[in-house]
């Protein structure tokens, strides 16, 4: 029965109204999407952590060189 009907259905078969249901289809997330999201977020955390570390190290290095310049020069130096 219904063997000559296309698998995707015709325009008339599509929902023409929306009804509330309980226990609907839970398959809302694709494995590919979740996998890619997980990898991207993990790498984003790592890169963010590295970026903050290098920025702070640069700030400390700059402050140290400012401090060295501010120190009075020793006469024997």
């Amino acid at each position: 029965m219904n063997q000559d009907k296309p698998a995707i259905g015709t325009a008339e078969d599509r929902a023409q109204e929306f009804k509330a249901v309980t226990g609907g289809n839970n398959e809302t997330s694709s494995a590919e999407g979740l996998l890619i999201t997980a990898y991207v977020l993990m790498w984003a955390i790592l890169m963010g952590f590295l970026f903050v570390t290098f920025r702070r190290q640069a700030a400390v290095d700059k402050r140290l060189s400012d401090l060295e310049r501010a120190l009075p020069k020793r006469p024997d130096a």
Binding site: E32, L34, A38, M42, F49, T53, Q57, V60
Partner: protein
């Protein structure tokens, strides 16, 4: 003197290891059964090693904190601080990857399972420690309080690790060492071992980087205290 060549070499090896691991996991490691999350199960090869790296950094925080309480020094404080910061970063990685895998395997992002709850508590302790160090100053009292907090954070880790065996819950045991059925394909085992190796390298490098930064900050603070006023 900073062993710059060693650090650059370490980063190069780590980057190559991760690149090889990603290629291997995506192209060679087979997909797991649908109950394990199907394709999303491939998150496992980074999720579990990241959790292991969290333990490693927690251990460093514990040792640094205990050493600071026993004999206060900038060095031990720097390692304790670095341990907490890196543990927070790896904790973040575990916390974003786990729920995304759980969505496919369990149907929900989050459940108040003993493993998940205890891990969240542990990560929050490390985050609190990082926030405390950032805003509470660097006096001896603050450092000692942070060291005690660091010890507390790491004391929670064994509870996290054994929570599945003790109280069950949704979180799988998987590894045979934890009483699970193990990985049934040699490529899966190889990927997991490579993941552990890569995360160990990454944790060692991040810890070194953050400890050096903390030590530089402590030295800068002391130098600023000793430096004469510009008009003095």
């Amino acid at each position: 003197m900073r062993p710059r060549g060693l650090i650059v070499g370490g980063w190069a090896i780590t980057a190559l290891t991760f690149f090889a691991l990603i290629v291997f996991v995506f192209l060679k490691v087979p997909e797991a059964q649908p109950q394990a999350g199907g394709l999303a199960q491939k998150i496992f090869y980074f999720h579990v090693p990241a959790a292991y790296a969290l333990y490693l950094c927690g251990g460093v925080c514990f040792i640094g904190s205990a050493l600071y309480l026993y004999n206060p020094s900038d060095k031990s404080d720097a390692w304790a601080k670095a341990g907490a910061e890196c543990a927070s970063a790896f904790g973040g990685m575990v916390m974003v990857s786990g729920p995304l895998w759980a969505k496919k395997a369990w149907g929900v992002y989050w459940t108040w399972d003993p493993r998940l709850t205890s891990l969240l508590l542990s990560i929050l302790i490390y985050v609190a420690l990082v926030v405390l160090r950032a805003f509470a100053g660097s006096g001896d009292a603050e450092r000692k309080f942070a060291a005690a907090f660091g010890i507390l954070g790491t004391a929670v880790l064994p509870i996290v690790h054994y929570s599945v065996q003790l109280w069950g819950g949704n979180h799988p045991k998987v590894l045979k060492a934890n009483g699970g059925g193990g990985l049934q394909d040699p490529a899966m085992v190889q990927a997991l071992l490579a993941g552990f190796f890569a995360m160990t390298l990454l944790a060692a490098l991040l810890l070194t980087l953050r400890a050096q930064l903390a030590l530089s900050q402590a030295r800068l603070l002391r130098a600023e205290e000793l430096a004469p006023e510009p008009n003095g």
